[in-house]
Symmetry: C2
Subunit: 474 residues, 2 copies
């Protein structure tokens, strides 16, 4: 990463190039955001495909060999560049992972502007782009692409071999990801994987996430009478699937908000004292975190702080429920069935498969005669703890410090990135989680946004981190 | 009701006339059923209005002075005929009550034919008409209209003064009914009210319903965080409105399925021994009642029979629930709010207003910090017990025996007909509940039907009962 290497531009020059083209980088992000790649809903399949093709074209334009590879589900965007110059092959190989699909946009009526018509609006921290996927994960993916564009502009390409694997199913269970990795090990071979789908500490402080919760997501439907019934004629004499479901869901927690499924806490480790002390020193503000979402106090497992609850403790949440008459007004009906989507966040060594099975048993054991339950799995993956001793972590921190003028924090996150576990297991490499979202970005909510300051720093950081990675011997 | 009275035709002649025109009676019922008068859903307002106008025209065609009277909600169809001949004014005045509105048709995908395109199909008891409203209550209203048509054909009109009050809001809380009755006491003056919105014992055995449960119907929305949240980033640290709602709903019943709201059972009387004995002698079959809806055993308050549970015990059912992501696949969201529609069936002297208030308190007392509840009432009316000593009851039984060749049973019903209480309270008259539905008619469910045999007997019975009423001195 010195001028002595000739073909490698200075970090200052890279950052200047990023800043000079930032307006067009923003324009390209908006083009990306305009394509409604909602992977969970089959009615968007054609748009999701179009989104993959759009990204392939962008990558080809900066010298990558790229394709939207066929999978059992949505295409996998995969691209490769061997690196520029004779030294490239001696430098570390970098794999970037992200996703081009987005969450559904509903409830639509709460969006101030249409979710797939990105707008740039003013906020307290300057301009921001508002659209579904702004930060999760299109904005972060474009952080990588635009950094590679700066390298392309100044040096004809990246300084080391770079591969991108950008999937289209992260928001819907990633069912193609593992089969694709198994079948493409050679093609995806690298020394480290950089994942950009997480957050910063705050707008001025970068962060590297070293701890992620796992996820088990189940859908359960309780069936009772063979058809909808008049609640006057039958009420009181037959099992009501909504009442039955509500009772089962309510029994998932005890009065201390611990999950009651037998064996649920098997494999959960207590937080090491030094990690706990480090988290306490972060200056995390309950008032700010909760105040932003209209709450004045937290609600969760007794005796745990908010950071522990979201970073190091397992949970159970009902993500959706439906049954009976949901229209306006009244209908005196006993529904034939009722459905809930229930997810569990996992930590440490909790076993997703065992928890999914124990949940089914838990439900079955509580069904009254005349009711039966049907289950559908929407994903199961374990928690991840990323190694904190890797030299790539040190290099990334150097790059981030260069851009922000202060050290990055090492943090946890409550969300799950199933890919990280699979990349370690199947491709045999560590992941570095460096992301640029903020807590108030409304991820998965209406009016999702990405601060343009964060977007610009994402591009700058990826450009600088790549220079630091290239400076390491392979 | 004898030929000696000259203008009064014989019952045999009336029944023959009904039978001779039954094909056109069925055609007219189908015309009525084709109008989607879903009163609870504002998008059907124009159709509901059109349905009232259709009925007005039918009544005018048989000599009634009729109008679709303006109310604060859907129009009230009100019609009057002074009776034919000089003796009419000396005979009892009859008020008929029914409703022309229908329940919503959803879930649409479970209908074998479109709900508002009536079809005549074969069933185990002969032909039946399938459509939303077939029996509840359009088929039953047409039972009255077509009986009056037979009187019109044979005698130029009914033998005594007849008024009809057919409302358009029975399925959505009847909010106009009481104001309308208060404002129209003179116009609605009568000696007895005949209501046709209940069932028979079985296809061969008529019944008069003397006991109806009341209803309190509340909608509750639990609000938590100010926006939808990512369940990974916030899960475990904030109250989840769906989990909170499920817990509250689950606490509405104890392990014996008794309702736990304080004071809920105030005013509930035990069934008198003789009534209980009579019900036990009815030969009611649990296996048949429950088998028809896919159940092999009942589920309700411990120590009560199915008839007690549905006719004489109060209940609580969740009629609808919704919250969070209800689409296909997975969305890892914590919803900002969740809603349930909860109804209570009341008996004896339970006070609807006190129960509505106690339910609100019950919910409020169980909300964790950070959550609030919003309530909407969709109706509150007490239970009814109809006098069994009225001479009109005796006359109706005579008419029914004439048609069916066997005595009618006196039964209870689990459903509510709010109008009956209001008619007694405001108009000062008893109601006679004579209906022609069957338990398997799929009232409020997909594929609602009315047996043509029941429809024909409904017309015959109303024609014969009117002759019996006319034979009573006023």
């Amino acid at each position: 990463m010195t001028t002595a290497q000739g073909s490698v531009p200075s970090v200052d020059a890279l950052l200047a190039s990023v800043d000079a083209s930032f307006e067009s980088s923003t324009r390209r992000l908006c083009d990306f955001l305009r394509i409604p790649s909602v992977s969970t809903d089959p009615s968007y399949d054609a748009e999701t495909r179009r989104c993959a093709d759009w990204l392939v074209n962008e990558l080809r334009a900066i010298g990558f060999e790229a394709e939207a590879a066929k999978t059992i589900g949505h295409p996998m965007v995969v691209a490769h560049h061997p690196g520029v110059g004779p030294d490239a092959a001696k430098r570390p190989r970098i794999l970037y992972y992200g996703h081009y699909d987005v969450q559904p946009a509903d409830p639509l009526e709460l969006w101030k502007s249409p979710p797939f018509e990105p707008v740039i609006v003013d906020g307290p921290r300057g301009k921001r782009v508002v659209a579904r996927g702004a930060v999760d994960d299109k904005g972060q993916v474009m952080g990588i692409v635009e950094a590679l564009r700066a390298w392309h502009a100044l040096a004809g390409g990246p300084p080391c071999p770079v591969t991108l694997m950008i999937e289209g199913e992260e928001e819907s269970g990633s069912r193609s990801l593992e089969p694709f990795m198994h079948a493409s090990k050679e093609r995806l071979a690298a020394d480290v994987c950089v994942v950009s789908d997480t957050g910063m500490w705050d707008v001025a402080t970068p962060a590297i996430t070293t701890r992620l919760r796992g996820l088990v997501y189940m859908e359960v439907t309780v069936h009772g009478p063979s058809r909808d019934l008049h609640s006057g004629m039958y009420g009181g004499a037959v099992p009501n699937p909504i009442n039955v479901l509500a009772r089962i869901l309510s029994e998932l927690h005890d009065k201390d908000r611990r999950v009651t499924i037998p064996g649920f806490y098997d494999g959960v480790s207590e937080l090491p004292a030094d990690t706990k002390a480090q988290w306490e020193s972060l200056g995390f503000s309950d008032a700010e975190f909760l105040g932003d979402i209209g709450l004045s106090q937290g609600f969760g497992e007794t005796g745990r702080s908010t950071l522990e609850r979201t970073w190091s403790r397992p949970t159970c949440d009902v993500n959706g429920i439906s049954g009976g008459y949901e229209g306006k007004g009244a209908k005196t009906v006993i529904a034939a069935h009722a459905t809930a989507k229930v997810s569990f966040r996992l930590v440490s060594r909790q076993d997703p498969e065992r928890i999914a099975a124990a949940f089914k048993q838990f439900v079955e054991a509580r069904l009254p005669a005349g009711c039966r339950a049907e289950f559908e799995s929407h994903g199961a993956n374990p928690a991840i703890e990323v190694s904190e001793s890797s030299r790539y972590l040190g290099a990334a921190e150097k790059g981030l410090a260069r851009v922000f003028g202060k050290p990055a924090l090492r943090i946890g996150t409550g969300g799950s990135i199933p890919a990280v576990g699979a990349i370690g297991r199947i491709l045999g490499m560590d992941s570095l989680l460096v992301g640029f979202g903020l807590d108030d970005d409304c991820v998965h909510s209406p009016n999702e946004k990405f601060e343009l300051a964060c977007y610009q720093n994402a591009i700058r950081s990826h450009a600088a981190m790549l220079a630091e990675f290239a400076a390491l011997a392979r």
